[in-house]
């Protein structure tokens, strides 16, 4: 668990249209070690999916632009690779599970074809062999292998997501990016899917980025946790650190909004204000306008990363001052 699989450094991604520039990802850096699971949490529009698409090299054509930064996979910068080389990375080294399993599968192809497609693309083998491996993958995700001849519409939502996972893991990727893999599913199915992902991830030794807005999922699945707000990572650390000792006011607010079974509350806690519009980001700390702990520095500049300890840092002036004050 030592070498870095993925190293994202100073990544900036903008969506540019004729009318406006949306600063979706602003200068984020993080690393993932082999076998590690990193959870990225944040509200809708925080730039989580954009980060994932950036890593996959699948930003929308013409609109999505990487402005600066690098993404290194096993020491090689993905931005230096040609489209042809990137195709060998996708599906083989990095694969991705998308949010909505209902629409992620091609309705006119059998699930067997769709799983064996990725095997045929990346591994030298015959069609028959690929189909056999596809059936094994189906069995691995808990679907009767004989159903490889069936079409997506013949499966339920939870089973479709299992098939999507089978596709993603078919070539035993180094890194799996799961973008809200359970958001579109029934609560009872969510736990099953997460359990299965966890056990497959451990079995294959795959590193994983789990994008979610569900803190419970992060607590259960992840080793590290990154909190994202308005395209920035505002807090990063091991799950234990971030959960037990949250420092950023946004992280704290997120925890407060988890309903508690012990306390009798009439209204759930909400983070005040609306999500900062990423096309009109302020020049100062982007959370300042919603922050309950802001100090005089907050509306003057952008905070730097401040270490809480070796495994935990936060991007907040208030914490910085508190620490310096001590």
């Amino acid at each position: 668990m030592s070498e870095n699989i993925l190293k994202v450094k100073d990544l900036v991604i903008h969506y540019e249209t004729d009318e406006e520039v949306v600063e979706a990802v602003n200068n984020i850096s993080f690393e993932i070690k082999k076998g590690e699971v990193l959870g990225i949490v944040g509200e809708t529009g925080a730039g989580k999916t954009t980060t994932a698409l950036g890593i996959m090299g699948l930003l929308p054509d013409k609109v999505g632009h990487v402005i600066q930064g690098s993404i290194e996979l096993e020491g090689e910068n993905l931005f230096d690779k040609s489209e042809r080389e990137m195709r060998k990375v996708r599906g083989k080294k990095i694969s991705m599970i998308f949010q909505d399993p209902m629409t992620a599968l091609n309705p006119v192809k059998t699930v067997g074809e769709q799983i064996s497609e990725v095997i045929l693309l990346h591994d030298q083998c015959s069609k028959a062999e690929a189909l056999l491996r596809a059936q094994k993958m189906l069995a691995m995700v808990g679907i009767v292998p004989e159903r490889y001849k069936d079409y997506p519409h013949q499966f339920s939502g939870g089973m479709k997501q299992r098939i999507v996972i089978a596709i993603a893991l078919a070539c035993e990727p180094e890194l799996l990016i799961a973008d809200e893999p359970t958001t579109a599913l029934d609560v009872t199915i969510q736990a099953q899917i997460l359990d299965m992902m966890r056990s497959l991830q451990q079995k294959q030794g795959t590193s994983m980025i789990l994008i979610t807005h569900d803190l419970g999922v992060v607590a259960e699945m992840c080793d590290h946790c990154a909190v994202m707000y308005a395209g920035e990572l505002v807090e990063y650390g091991t799950v234990e650190e971030v959960f037990d000792n949250p420092q950023h006011p946004y992280t704290k607010a997120l925890y407060q909004s988890i309903p508690s079974l012990d306390k009798d509350v009439e209204r759930l806690h909400v983070v005040p204000g609306a999500v900062t519009d990423p096309s009109k980001l302020p020049s100062y700390c982007s959370f300042a306008d919603r922050c309950t702990e802001k100090c005089e520095l907050c509306e003057k500049g952008d905070p730097e990363c401040t270490e809480v300890n070796a495994e935990h840092w936060v991007k907040c002036f208030t914490y910085q001052q508190k620490k310096e004050g001590k």
Partner: protein, 328 residues
């Protein structure tokens, strides 16, 4: 599947009854005496009366209608043409066959070119290529078919002498009519393909295919095209139907003995058995074509199999559900 086909063929019965009643009514209530028309002005009143009796025109209208339907059902007899005295069916069959060949060829030409142009302009959306394709296909749609036909005749028959200007005695005679109808339909196929291709290319499963590391060409042809073809196939069905009976103008331009021209001639000559028989036969053929097109949808889109084969899809769904529950 068989049940579905039988059901669709049964739908044909009320359609045919409707068509036949309308045309029968037209025949009955239009002024003029068919017997007089057949025999000419020089015939005596007695001769005309005799002819009326022979044709059954003196019977009450419901009896006439009943006899007509009985003839079709028992002997496949659609009546005899007033003009030639030959059975309508034997007159129409070869003409229908000719029209069908031309229409089929035209649809193939139109759909092939149209789908190809549609794919190109979808892949090159908002570029000069896209606009160019749009302008060209709009051009062929806006210019009336017979103008394209006349230009084709000028070029290939009059100047280059490679194709016959008139008639279908040789296979070369089919080329220009097919090309003419085909080119006119290119624009609609192009536009349908372009918009459905653009829609499909934005679907999540295309992103899944990209995430697998699939190349753009394979994504276009293996993943997107089949999904994008569903609305195109629908339009092929409609076009086939429209062209078979509606090719009168071009049949005139190219001197093709087709079914459209036959019916129009029959109308001007008040040759009611031919009009009636022609309309009924075309209705039957169109129903069969539509049925074939609907069945072909199943080949393109497996989701329809459940709905088409089992009618409502409920039976098949029941079979799938317990298994789903068990495995999930």
């Amino acid at each position: 599947m068989l049940k579905y086909i039988l059901k669709r063929i049964l739908y044909l019965i009320p359609i045919l009854i409707g068509v036949s009643i309308i045309i029968f009514a037209l025949k009955t209530f239009t002024p003029g005496d068919p017997a007089r028309q057949i025999l000419g002005n020089s015939a005596s009143e007695e001769q005309v009366q005799e002819k009326r009796e022979e044709l059954g025109l003196n019977d009450p209208v419901p009896v006439q209608y009943f006899n007509y339907v009985k003839g079709i059902v028992t002997r496949l007899d659609f009546g005899d043409s007033y003009r030639t005295g030959k059975p309508v069916l034997s007159e129409i069959t070869p003409r229908l066959w000719t029209s069908a060949k031309i229409t089929l060829g035209a649809v193939i030409i139109g759909a092939l070119i149209g789908v190809l142009l549609g794919i190109i302009s979808a892949l090159k959306k908002y570029t000069a290529v896209d606009s160019g394709v749009l302008v060209i296909s709009m051009f062929f749609q806006s210019v009336p078919e017979f103008v394209i036909g006349l230009v084709l005749i000028m070029v290939f028959a009059v100047n280059l002498h490679v194709l016959p200007a008139n008639g279908i005695e040789t296979w070369q005679g089919y080329i220009m009519p097919m090309l003419c109808i085909g080119l006119a339909s290119v624009a609609s196929y192009t536009r349908i393909t372009r918009s459905s291709m653009l829609e499909v290319l934005g679907e999540d499963y295309i992103r899944t295919a990209k995430a697998k590391g699939q190349s753009q060409n394979n994504i276009t042809f293996r993943h997107a095209l089949r999904n994008a073809l569903i609305p195109v196939a629908q339009s092929v069905g409609t076009n086939l139907g429209n062209s078979i009976g509606g090719g009168m103008v071009l049949e005139t331009v190219f001197g093709v003995p087709g079914v459209g021209k036959y019916i129009v001639d029959a109308i001007t000559q008040r040759n009611y058995p031919s009009v009636l028989g022609g309309a009924l036969i075309i209705a039957i053929v169109l129903t069969i074509i539509n049925l074939l097109v609907d069945i072909s949808f199943v080949l393109i889109d497996p989701r329809l199999k459940t709905t088409i084969i089992s009618g409502s899809g409920s039976k098949k769904m029941k079979k799938v559900k317990p298994e789903t529950a068990k495995a999930a």
